[in-house]
């Protein structure tokens, strides 16, 4: 059965995208002169959904490599999610081009005066990191890895589609998929770490944590599982995927449960190692979040750890669609907030100091004096919509990106039968039992 992407759903999703676009436009015009809020929202959402696509490709490849069979009935969903890279990578390239074009001040290191020894803005730490934190690497890594990822995912996808029309050809198509999947794994594993450093961690350019890539990757992974559950539940409610049973949801629920704990482990370890190891110079990351983002910082832990841990602990809550959908939706939003916390404080700091240093002349345009802004960098006002807590414009932007993502996934799903009928593991998957 092929998914029929009705014009009604298209209209709804398009409406969501228009809402997102409208929010972006509104953000742009109500913004400071560096368009900090606009660009940080753009980065936040682009990174979030691109990462989800990377993780879907990664998990699919890991499953193919391991000869896993249980997921095969809904493998088209992961194929579609991972293909979202076709949209996500260009969005990230846009951010990269913005660094060269001086469109935004998301990254402190993109200000070239900081690595000029004769300039007053000279920054020894950024000077030491300039070999990696520069626009060439940013664009190069995004472009090269993006092309490799999309290429391999398309290969796996086309082999999967070829099975439908030409049969599995013995195990040959499975072997072919496995070859590409095994190649994808190192590119996704090491590559995702590299893009996380460049895309996200470098907004706090002075700070680094060797655990950060794991932590962010786990966040992406959990979000990917949440979206998979929600998409499958939606499609099932529309009468598709009769083969996807409560057993598959049970296993997805286990992944949601397990990787929420994994995420918490990394979230805590990152703090723990800095705190216990007396690495004073790295405490700045947490100091900023403790002081100015306490509600989100601790709420994050409550939503992303305590809620899934206690709710999904029992067998039956993973097998009841109501509780599973509730947790999946909650945790998806929780990890979106997690990314908000990763991106916003650093970007805000960079923007404030950029304005204070007078790299732009029109500082006082919106009635903020230089001193006021410089002070704001150190003591951000307690609640500033869009900066210290997500405002309506952020939520609208999130809905817009989500609708774009869902639109793309459904579009890809409608292109091929939802269940690959000739996959060698299809029978195992249909009779999957946890």
């Amino acid at each position: 059965m092929t998914y029929n992407f009705t014009s009604k759903s298209k209209t709804w999703l398009a409406a969501g995208m228009v809402l997102g676009l409208l929010c972006l436009v509104l953000t742009w015009f109500g913004d400071d002169e560096l368009h900090t809020r606009f660009w940080s929202n753009f980065l936040h959402n682009s990174v979030f959904f691109t990462g989800i696509a990377i993780m879907a490709g990664f998990f699919m490849s890991a499953s193919i490599t391991a000869w896993a069979g249980w997921y095969v009935v809904f493998k088209r969903v992961w194929e579609a999610i991972s293909l979202y890279l076709i949209i996500g990578i260009p969005l990230m390239l846009l951010v990269g081009i913005g660094i060269i074009g001086d469109w935004h001040h998301l990254y402190h290191w993109s200000d070239l005066t900081t690595i000029d020894p004769d300039h007053e803005n000279f920054d020894k730490i950024l000077f030491g990191k300039k070999g990696f934190l520069n626009s060439t690497w940013y664009l190069g890594v995004t472009l090269v890895l993006g092309i490799i990822w999309i290429f391999i995912i398309s290969k796996i996808r086309s082999l999967s589609l070829a099975e439908d029309t030409h049969g599995p050809d013995g195990f040959n198509r499975q072997y072919g998929m496995r070859k590409w999947a095994a190649m994808f794994l190192p590119f996704a594993g090491f590559g995702s770490a590299a893009v996380i450093w460049l895309w996200i961690m470098s907004v706090d350019a002075h700070w680094y944590s060797t655990l950060f890539a794991w932590y962010t990757g786990a966040s992406w992974f959990v979000s990917m599982i949440c979206l998979t559950i929600l998409i499958l539940l939606y499609l099932k409610s529309k009468g598709y995927f009769a083969e996807v049973t409560v057993e598959h949801f049970h296993d997805l629920g286990k992944f949601l449960f397990a990787f929420s704990i994994f995420w918490t482990y990394l979230w805590f370890s990152q703090y723990m190692l800095i705190w216990y190891g007396n690495i004073g110079e790295e405490t700045v990351y947490f100091k900023e979040r403790f002081t100015n983002y306490p509600v989100l910082f601790y709420g994050n832990l409550l939503i992303n750890f305590v809620a899934p841990f206690l709710i999904l602990m029992r067998n039956d809550t993973k097998r009841k669609m109501g509780s599973l959908a509730f947790v999946a939706g909650l945790v998806l939003l929780g990890h979106w907030v997690d990314f908000f916390l990763m991106v916003k404080p650093g970007v805000l700091h960079t923007a404030h100091s950029a304005m204070a240093h007078g790299t732009h002349d029109s500082v006082a345009e919106h009635g903020h004096s230089v001193e006021e802004l410089a002070q704001g960098a150190e003591h951000a006002s307690t609640f500033e919509m869009g900066f210290t807590i997500p405002g309506f414009l952020e939520l609208g932007t999130f809905i817009g990106f989500l609708c774009l993502f869902i639109f793309f996934v459904f579009y890809i799903l409608s292109k091929a039968p939802l269940v690959g009928k000739n996959d060698v593991y299809i029978e195992e998957s249909k009779h999957h039992h946890t």
Partner: protein, 172 residues
Amino acid sequence: MANNKDIIYGLYNDEEDLLRAVKQANSDHLEIMDVYTPFPVHGLDPLLGLTESRLHIAGFIYGLLGTLTAFLGMTWIFTKDWPIIFGGKPHWSLPAFIPIIFELTVLFSAIGMTVTFYIVNGLGPGVVNPTIDLRITDDKFCIAFDKSEVEASKAESFLRSSGAAEIHSKTI
């Protein structure tokens, strides 16, 4: 077992045969005493009408006990009993407690569940558990009927018709 039982049992070579036979016995209303398999067979529990084990509820309680023991224990030790300064940190340092809280939670629930499992099932050192046939720990699947519950001839004809490779009687 204290009271001896006369049983009749059939050995199957394949778990699919076993599952079919259990379904057949259910529709024939034959009271199965027990089924023995070398490994957990998927889908067997609901056919036998077994309810979900409550062991994990006990496990949760043991885990909670471990969490509290570690948390309260360390709080008492490091603030009242023997306060020591480690690396300039405060006496009551929650982040430093968390690894130990985690470990004691796991330890308590693991040991507690194991002990509970052994007690509930009457297992332990020196306990003799009769094994119907040694091959049920290797590659045979067994359905056993209690002769006081099911007529022996009926059970035998059922076992024969459902494809049992061997049929035996025994007193355990």
